[in-house]
Symmetry: C2
Subunit: 156 residues, 2 copies
Amino acid sequence: MTNRDELGNSVLRSAARLTRWASRNASFDVPMAQARLLALIEELGPSRISSLAAADHCSQPTMSTQLQRLEAEGWAERIVDPADARASLISLTTAGRAALGRVRRARLQALSPAFDQLDAAAVARLQDAVDALDDLLVRAAAAADTVADAGARHTR
Amino acid sequence: MTNRDELGNSVLRSAARLTRWASRNASFDVPMAQARLLALIEELGPSRISSLAAADHCSQPTMSTQLQRLEAEGWAERIVDPADARASLISLTTAGRAALGRVRRARLQALSPAFDQLDAAAVARLQDAVDALDDLLVRAAAAADTVADAGARHTR
DNA sequence: CTAGATTACATAGGCAGCCTATGTAATGCC
DNA sequence: GGCATTACATAGGCTGCCTATGTAATCTAG
């Protein structure tokens, strides 16, 4: 048990450390959350605000304000959903796609000195690490949802 | 090229996702930064504020305020460094060590449903992932320091 | 066809976490 | 003794996230 407990703490600690380091050292003009949102919109295509919030695992108001920032930069635009006047469909502008490209390049530039030292085996190992983290997150999120559903059922 | 670039983005994205998920779902009473600081003080033993800031890769004012919160909770205490009246030596109180234990248990509880599903191979894979991330961070930080030093040399 | 529930989103207010710039007190050096 | 340096504190600001709540559009039951 101590074994797995220790591992759980290690995973979270290492992931958090790397993330914090990247956000400190990757000097992009674009804040993390905006960059994430740009990528998300690109991935999903025209989407509603609530869909984006669900996909990003954040609250709807948080997504609303983040989107307003993207719009202020001219990186995203919204059209009223023709099927439902309450909702809007969000998509990237040309400038938004360009900004996303800049962000990705800047982020890589911060990591590249480290990556340049890696041999093929280390690259493969990192690739496997990414898969392992993604897998863990999927399981954790699924388990949390199950718990939440069970809780909701109790309150009905 | 595209291969490594893609991997770089993947690593950062996956680590960030896991971290964000954990901070949302691990319902401990103690905020992330405080928890980190508790662990850091435990690891380093009596230390100066500036040392803690360096170890945590944050600024000295940030560490000052975080420490004030730990002190307010009664989890850390400081004594004036007998060798230098400007500095103080920070250490955990008994309550602080207890709080650290609670945090670790709470954090594990959030992850444990996911961990319970893992077989031995998956655990080993995660362990390797942690090592890979740590290694990457060490390389990245070292590379960044080298660049910083070179820059500093230029300004002299 | 209309009153109430529901849905989609916006706004308000608050807290964590981090930064830079700058002030203050102790120390070290010439 | 005077001046730079060092260790830390304070001020002010930004991102990023939350909950609570308001508003307008839509759906639904009667």
